[in-house]
Symmetry: C2
Subunit: 218 residues, 2 copies
């Protein structure tokens, strides 16, 4: 069912479609045309139709798309029709924030463990899960089938832990550490570089300030 060469631009837009369809669903709206959706989302109707048709024909001529059906299908495409077990490496503020986030559970991402090297934290709980010493990571992974590791530790720690994760067959890494990870093919990595994001913001602030100083033209 899933084609090979879907561009990451397309994949990147799917969660947003899902969100808008969820909103429509909640409002009790049954059907939507690509044009209506395009107005709502500020994209072209053409793009919506192209994006969806990468995965199959979910609509019906003269009718549009059934909201409920399309919502479910996009969910399936995104792999949300199953559960994923995840652990968090790094029980700092960010790690605890992500561990405590209930919405992930709703989507099928199950919080299974959290590790840190700081002994003061051992035994403390995050949403019912005890913080364990990172030295126990290897044996934990051997006993439990974990899909995703969330890295919320500094750079060096992240690089140290990678081998243990990979050797134990981790499927994916959600990387909040400020490094590019080098993993074998087949291990999925999704980076969230918060400081990069913040820099894009400062770029746009100062560019806008400059524009309004010099050119005055928009």
């Amino acid at each position: 069912m899933q084609d090979k060469g879907i561009s990451s631009a397309v994949v990147g837009r799917l969660p947003r479609y899902l969100r808008y369809l969820g909103d429509l669903k909640e409002k009790g709206i049954e059907r939507v045309s690509s044009q209506e959706l395009s107005r709502l989302m500020n994209v072209t109707a053409s793009q919506i139709r192209q994006d969806l048709n990468n995965f199959g024909g979910f609509g019906q001529q003269g009718y549009g798309y059934n909201v409920d059906y399309l919502y479910k299908e996009i969910g399936k495409i995104l792999g949300l029709d199953r559960e994923y077990d995840f652990i968090i490496i790094g029980a700092g503020n960010l790690g605890r924030a992500l561990g405590g986030y209930l919405n992930f559970e709703r989507r099928g991402f199950i919080f299974r463990g959290i590790f840190d090297k700081n002994p003061e934290l051992f035994g403390t709980e995050v949403r019912g899960v005890k913080i364990s010493p990172i030295s126990e990571l290897d044996s934990f992974l051997k006993k439990n089938n974990i899909d995703i590791a969330v890295l919320t530790i500094p750079k060096t720690g992240a690089l140290e832990v990678i081998d243990t994760l990979v050797d134990n067959g981790i499927k994916a890494i959600w990387n909040f550490a400020h490094v590019d990870l080098d993993v074998p093919e087949g291990v999925q990595v999704e980076n969230v570089h918060l400081s990069d994001s913040l820099m894009k913001l400062s770029y746009n602030i100062s560019r806008y300030a400059d524009d309004n100083k010099n050119g005055d033209k928009d």
Copy 2:
């Protein structure tokens, strides 16, 4: 100095350049050619040269780029040669995590205030900054010159607070809420949709699983 139509693809790559140049700097390396950097970063040398030349000629034929100089220049382009005052709306785990993050301060992002609606949190401190009731946001903004608001509250709260921010001349919003914000032109918005990011990960996990079941070809 700053041109107008720089594509966001280019801007999005600048922080990564900065990071690699910072690493080289720390290693005491003085010069780097686009080819060396390209091997390091896993991009084409051509792209590096094209990207940089959007902003000016920072290199020298036959020599390459001076690491220190290029680092500084990219910093300037990203607007990191000044300070930004920011506040956080929402003192949950994520808000506190971001408030506690020292690296932002190092880059010139100064943590000035944090607000919440939960009375139990009022007076509690996050890195020396007292959590204030959100009802005081308006008067706070009138008294203080704040550049950036970080939204770490749920959807509805985010939408409620937008007007107050915009009316008081906020320059940018770093949005962690799971909504698209509608702000006037000139107010910069950078979205960090964590659940979208997680869905991309699950997409890739299940696509990889499917590939290895059906086709067996890579």
